[in-house]
Amino acid sequence: MSRASLFVPLGIFIGILALGYVGFSLDARNQLPSALLGKPFPEFSAPLLLEPEVQITKADLLGQPALVNVWATWCPTCKSEHEQLMYIASATDVLMVGVDYKDRPAQAIQWLQQYGNPYDYVIDDRDGSLGIELGVYGAPETFLLNAAGEVVYKRVGDINIRIWENELLPRFKALEVEVITQAEALQGQPTVGSGAGQ
């Protein structure tokens, strides 16, 4: 075979590589905004984890900005973001709502006792029905609602210092949530965060 034909495999390979690269950039479409964004939070009625006889509805979340955090004890990442949530709870006057997703209540209560409870309300969603309403992909997931109950921001994954500073804090300001100070906010930097990415 002639010399030139030895380059044919290289040519074919470059073609395949290009296709792989194109497929890869197509994949960026996976990052889609949530359909809930800018839309009202769904109506719901669910019991509270700590007071099972009390039902909470969407009306309870209205009137002030609220941060709805979907978590569970089976979710290791929820653990890693817990400290950041504790910090947000202490540093702001936002209404903190936890959705205990597909979990066992006894374990969840024990978790809150052990690590502290950042939430104003903890919704017991043991069958995951509220999660489905919310289109929850997994845990943790976090929604930020304005006073009218519309979803203004959604985070799939953990709330870490980076998300807090770059995504949540500016939106909190826009919603006029009281935040203690930027300097104090920085002190709330959790020591983990880096480990959560895996």
Binding site: F13, L19, G23, D27, S80, V192, Q198
Partner: protein, 646 residues
């Protein structure tokens, strides 16, 4: 501390592989430096083994402070699944990949004395360079040792229940042995190109390693297919899923390589082609890793989608494959020797064999990549299903079988047409057999009868050749035994595929307790559902009584399991395995009044598919023990090389 130790040893192993690569590829003639390559390789293996053991230890001791353990294990899991969970997801399985690469390098060192030193150090240098890339990938994009401190979870999230299974314990290690094993012939090819030595001796060195890697790959794919069959509850054993294709493509290239190497060894020809196949085989291993781990193609098997990882592998692929193919384009022409052969010769049939395998490879590649191309061009989404692959693989398999049946009668260089007469006789016998099958299995297609007939032809012609040799009283070379076994394995596999694909019976039915249905002449009665408890799950177990017409009846139990940690539901099929047929029951969902949706399968000869594949793998291993591969000293090989070239 233990995870940090593992992390640290991986870093040191990376540093060692960097030095091994630098020294190995520098081409230094300093004997001290050359020997240091071997000791560094041993050190690298010890360190990766330590690193891997540290991760196993973290799993075994339920160290949920390690994020990877917390995400993939649970204290309720039995110990053996805790250990196998180490390679149950991306990070850990890649560490296993690295360990296996180091393992192959260590194995190379054990036989290093057989090869010329400068060639051997280059081979190790290339392997070390590859391993460096793998280690960096692990450290920078998928570190399994990251900790969750101070928020250590009380318990882990559990391993995906599908993977809590014997199949998963063995399937990935075997498959990776094959994937990474192909790096050895790759390194031999690149070193051969660099050294300008690609001759019969080179082919002989490469063959042992290629056969081993190929056999592991064959066994790994077979196990994967078997696992999918009993674990997914669909009763299928091959889905042309992108991830399956990703393992099938290197296999096709490696199969072509195994054959092409034998021509290069025996006749000193096909050199450029053999080199190209050696590069291609490993390239497809890497491409497979890209497909599986980048999320470009979503499949039932895919790992978490991660653009960073995908991009890393894509760049690595571009460097390794692009680099070696450029080297090939520049250097491969230098070695060309021209040896004449006629159309009726072993060489020509090997060429046909290679051509078929490469066309098959092109088909799989096309079927896997076309949806991406289509979307890139038109923006629309398509899927390419099983019919596409079948359209090609049925004729390709049949033509391959014809070539295989004639092969034992062919000599190298040229064969007289009269010598083929025995093939005519065996074809006649096989045809009679096929016609009989045709009548027994009626109504069935011509293709099935042809496949069975051709399969029988391959077996008969190999059997006749074996008989002829035994009668002459010559001792059989192991290479010959291995080849015969592998070719018989191919026929067994082909017959199994043809029969099970067309003669299976499948029905989805609604079954009330005590209700029964007929399945392939057997009465299947649903006795009801009982609750059972597993270590980390609870299950509803459907009990079925199967009464064949002739022999005794037996019970089958199929389960619907619910795993505690994530509330996962999983189907566990009940299978009565048999050499002639499997009876397969799986539970669908509960319906009203205690009735269940039930899936029933009767699958004749399905075991032959895996049995045949395992025979092929066994043949590949047996061939390695041929006398001529045993303890060749460098000076001997030089003589042999010289003889082969003259």
């Amino acid at each position: 501390m233990i995870p940090e130790l593992g992390h640290f040893s991986l870093v040191i192993a990376g540093v060692l592989s960097l030095f091994t690569a630098l020294v190995g590829l520098s081409g230094s003639r300093n004997s001290l430096l050359q020997r240091s390559v071997v000791s560094m390789t041993v050190g690298q293996f010890a360190l990766t083994l330590l690193s891997f053991s540290a991760l196993v230890w973290s799993f075994a001791t339920d160290d949920f402070s390690v994020a990877y353990v917390a995400n993939n294990s649970n204290s309720l899991m039995p110990w053996y699944y805790k250990v196998s969970a180490t390679w149950g997801a991306h990070e850990g399985s890649f560490l296993l990949w690295i360990l296996i690469t180091s393992g192959w390098m260590l194995a190379l060192c054990l036989r290093g004395h057989q090869y010329p030193t400068s060639f051997f150090t280059k081979v190790l240098g290339i392997m070390a360079l590859l391993n460096l890339g793998f280690i960096c990938f692990s450290l920078f994009t998928s570190n399994p040792f990251l900790r969750l401190i101070p928020m250590t979870p009380v318990d882990g999230a559990d391993l995906n229940p599908l993977l809590q299974d014997f199949g998963l314990i063995v399937h990935p290690p075997l498959l990776y042995m094959g994937y990474v094993g192909l790096a050895v012939p790759f390194a031999f090819a690149v070193a051969g190109l660099l050294e300008g030595q690609v001759d019969s001796a080179w082919a002989r060195w490469s063959r042992t390693w290629t056969n081993m890697a190929w056999a592991f790959l064959t066994a790994g794919i077979t196990l994967g297919s078997w696992w999918a069959y009993y674990e997914l509850g669909w009763g299928g054993w091959w889905f042309w899923d992108p991830v399956e294709n990703a393992s099938f493509m290197p296999w096709l290239a490696a199969t072509a390589l195994v054959h092409s190497l034998s021509v290069t060894e025996k006749r000193g020809t096909f050199k450029s082609w053999t080199l190209l196949l050696a590069i291609t085989g490993f390239s497809f291993s890497l491409l497979g890793a890209f497909i599986v781990r980048s999320g470009v193609l979503t499949s039932v098997h895919s790992f978490a989608v991660d653009p960073e990882r995908g991009m890393y592998i894509l760049i690595f692929l571009a460097l390794v494959v692009g680099g070696s193919l450029t080297l090939y384009a520049l250097r491969a022409g230098q070695n060309s020797t021209q040896v004449a052969y006629s159309f009726l010769s072993r060489e020509f049939f090997m060429l046909i064999n290679n051509l078929i395998l490469i066309v098959a490879l092109a088909v799989v590649l096309w079927g896997t990549m076309a949806p991406i191309g289509y979307e890139a061009v038109t923006g629309g989404r398509i899927s390419i299903g099983t019919p596409f692959f079948n359209r090609f693989f049925v004729p390709l398999g049949l033509v391959l079988a014809i070539a295989l049946a004639v092969l034992p009668l062919l000599n190298w260089k040229r064969t007289k047409a009269e010598a083929l007469r025995p093939a005519g006789i065996s074809l006649l016998i096989a045809a009679v057999f096929a016609v009989l099958i045709w009548f027994v299995l009626d109504p069935t297609s011509v293709v099935v009868a042809t496949a069975v007939g051709l399969g029988a032809w391959v077996v008969i012609s190999h059997g006749a050749d074996l008989y002829k040799r035994l009668r002459k009283g010559t001792t059989l070379p192991m290479a010959y035994v291995g080849m015969t076994l592998a070719h018989v394995g191919f026929s067994v596999c082909m017959i199994g595929i043809a029969i099970t694909a067309t003669q299976s019976e499948e029905s989805d039915v609604r079954m009330a307790p005590q209700g029964s249905v007929m399945l392939a002449g057997q009465r299947v009665t649903f006795l009801g559902v009982v609750e059972v408890q597993g270590p980390n799950y609870s299950a509803q177990q459907g009990v079925f009584l199967v009464e064949p017409e002739s022999t005794g009846s037996y019970e089958l139990r199929a389960e619907k399991r619910r795993y505690f940690a994530g509330n996962n539901v999983m189907t566990e099929a009940g299978i009565q395995a048999g050499l002639l047929a499997d009876t397969y029951v799986s539970l669908g969902e509960p319906l009203a009044d205690g009735a269940w949706a039930v899936r029933l399968h009767y699958k004749p000869l399905v075991r032959w598919v895996w049995l045949g594949a395992l025979l092929m793998a066994l043949g590949g291993i047996i061939a390695i023990f041929d006398r001529r591969y045993r303890s060749l000293r460098v000076r001997d090989t030089k003589v042999i090389g010289a003889v082969a070239q003259s």
